[in-house]
């Protein structure tokens, strides 16, 4: 124990002095106020304003501690999980108020009433390029409260350019569920996972792209998405739709809850999600990456054992790089006993300041979190409404 403490105390730290962390947090306070206050001031409801102020203070406190402690992953995960939980707390009451239930009827589908989800991107691209049509029953331009195609597409392009596969740990609306359940146990019950499973998301990507192009329907949404339990789903009015509902319930329980608890890994995100597979190709064009300093690395392989998305293996570690599936969550960086893992900006020297790269990346990632982070405000508002009026609607 004393030896571990000694090693930990010698471990190079990304911790910042308080004054520096405060100074570097100020721009985030300004940015988050700039992004959120116009929406809050237009709300015309004191409860919404209070929710907004609490959320604004909360997220900036989280950001400050992320910088101050040097523990990016810990505080990123807190925000990420809160956003994932906030989404159904806002979205489901909105569905019930707007349509009477969480279930999508044919009427909602044929009137373009489904909220556009970014996970549909892989499926819609080919029909959009070939026939100029969007094969999703949502709006193209925003007229309703939640999600139009044009908005989600622009966010997706911007986030892909800005953080690449960092989407999966910084932006995704649903990944926080996986993240949450993967952190419940202190130790995994299932440790040895066949690494060939990491190819499944790519297989899923190919399958859904091809099948969606053939059927002209969003196959993943109809058959494979586990997160429908937290958003909206086709009404089970016949055997087919009942089977679809059954599948997504089983997938949520298996891939998002049980397996992450047992493995302490993000199983849905790392071993199933086809959107993640698409993002991993876009990782190539992103300026940020995670590297391993081979001079400092003691080959303890803790990073291999703890990476939530299986993005490190023996050969990548030997070359000092992560695999293309790296979501830049910082778990390896925070957990490395030698401080060998670090954020790096492509083109800069491998010995360049890891702190600078970290701060720049964290700024890009955290600001993107604020886009969907508005769900925190909405969820808080609904909680206040529940307390004051007895209803979240």
């Amino acid at each position: 124990m004393a030896a571990i403490a000694q090693v930990k105390s010698r471990r190079p730290s990304l911790q910042l002095p308080v004054w520096k962390a405060l100074l570097l947090s100020l721009p985030m306070l300004l940015i988050s106020s700039f992004l959120w206050v116009p929406n809050l001031s237009g709300a015309g409801d004191s409860l919404a304003l209070i929710a907004g102020i609490i959320a604004l203070l909360g997220i900036n406190t989280i950001f400050f501690f992320m910088l101050y402690t040097g523990k990016t992953d810990r505080y990123r995960a807190v925000m990420f999980i809160i956003i994932a939980i906030a989404l159904p707390m806002d979205f489901i009451p909105w569905m019930i108020k707007t349509y009477g239930s969480m279930m999508l009827t044919d009427e909602i589908v044929y009137s373009g009433g489904a909220s556009f989800c970014p996970l549909t991107m892989p499926m819609i691209l080919i029909p959009a390029l070939v026939k100029r049509v969007i094969i999703f029953p949502g709006e193209l331009l925003p007229t309703m409260a939640h999600g139009a195609f044009s908005l989600m597409f622009i966010i997706w392009v911007a986030a892909s350019l800005s953080v690449g596969m960092g989407w999966c740990s910084w932006v995704c609306l649903y990944g926080g569920w996986d993240e949450f359940f993967s952190r419940l146990r202190r130790k995994p019950l299932i440790k040895n996972i066949d690494r060939r499973w990491i190819y499944l998301p790519f297989g899923m990507l190919l399958a859904i792209v091809v099948l969606s192009a053939i059927t002209f329907t969003p196959i993943y949404c109809e058959w494979f998405c586990p997160f429908k339990i937290a958003t909206e789903f086709q009404a089970p009015v016949n055997l087919l739709t009942s089977i679809q509902v059954g599948i997504f319930v089983v997938l949520f329980i298996g891939l998002v809850v049980v397996l992450p608890i047992l493995t302490r890994r993000r199983v849905q995100c790392g071993l199933f999600c086809p959107f993640g597979a698409l993002q991993s190709f876009l990782n190539k064009i992103n300026i940020f990456e995670v590297r391993v300093d081979l001079d400092k690395c003691s080959e303890c392989k803790q990073c291999l054992r703890t990476c939530p998305t299986f993005s490190l293996d023996e050969s990548s570690l030997k070359s000092g790089k992560t695999l293309i599936t790296c979501t830049k969550c910082s778990k390896c960086i925070d957990g490395c006993p030698k401080g060998a893992a670090y954020y790096h900006i492509k083109g800069t020297s491998l010995k360049a300041s890891p702190q600078t790269a970290r701060i720049l990346f964290v700024y890009a990632g955290f600001v993107l979190m604020l886009i969907f982070g508005g769900e925190i405000v909405n969820a808080l508002y609904r909680i206040f409404k529940l307390i004051t009026t007895g209803s979240m609607l």
């Binding site: 044929y110 373009g112 959009a128 100029r132 331009l141 044009s150 622009i154 083109g347 720049l360």
Partner: protein, 154 residues
Amino acid sequence: MKYIKSFLGYSIAVVCILISIMVGPMIGLLAEPFIKTTGLRLSPNYDGGEVRQTIDHAAYQTLVHRMVFDNTLIGERKEGFVQVEWAPLAALPAHIDEEVDVNGDNQADFRLVVDTANKQSVLTPYSSWVQELEGTYRFKNSMAVRVRLKNPAR
């Protein structure tokens, strides 16, 4: 060269942050031009396709959409549908009885009798390629029926 690459790297990193900051405020400005420029539209599977013919009645209109067989990547499908819509919802009579020409040859292809209050419809096909009723739907401001068709061209 090393310094140029390093400068470019940091510059692009800063640009990434600026993209992250600006995407939120810019979304509203970019969305409409993006859709207009790309010419993207919703799949006819969902919006029923363009309205081909509008028939005026006293208090309401009948909107006959085009036949949809092109909800596929290449070519046309052997089977499709046509959507017939009546609007506005508030002005619709309790029963609608209408013969519909979907292919523009001035001959009725089927007859629809719609009970608007109970959302029930009866289809009487006149053409061999008119198959069956898919469903009757009440939207926010209209009522619609989808009729399944065989592609007469195939």
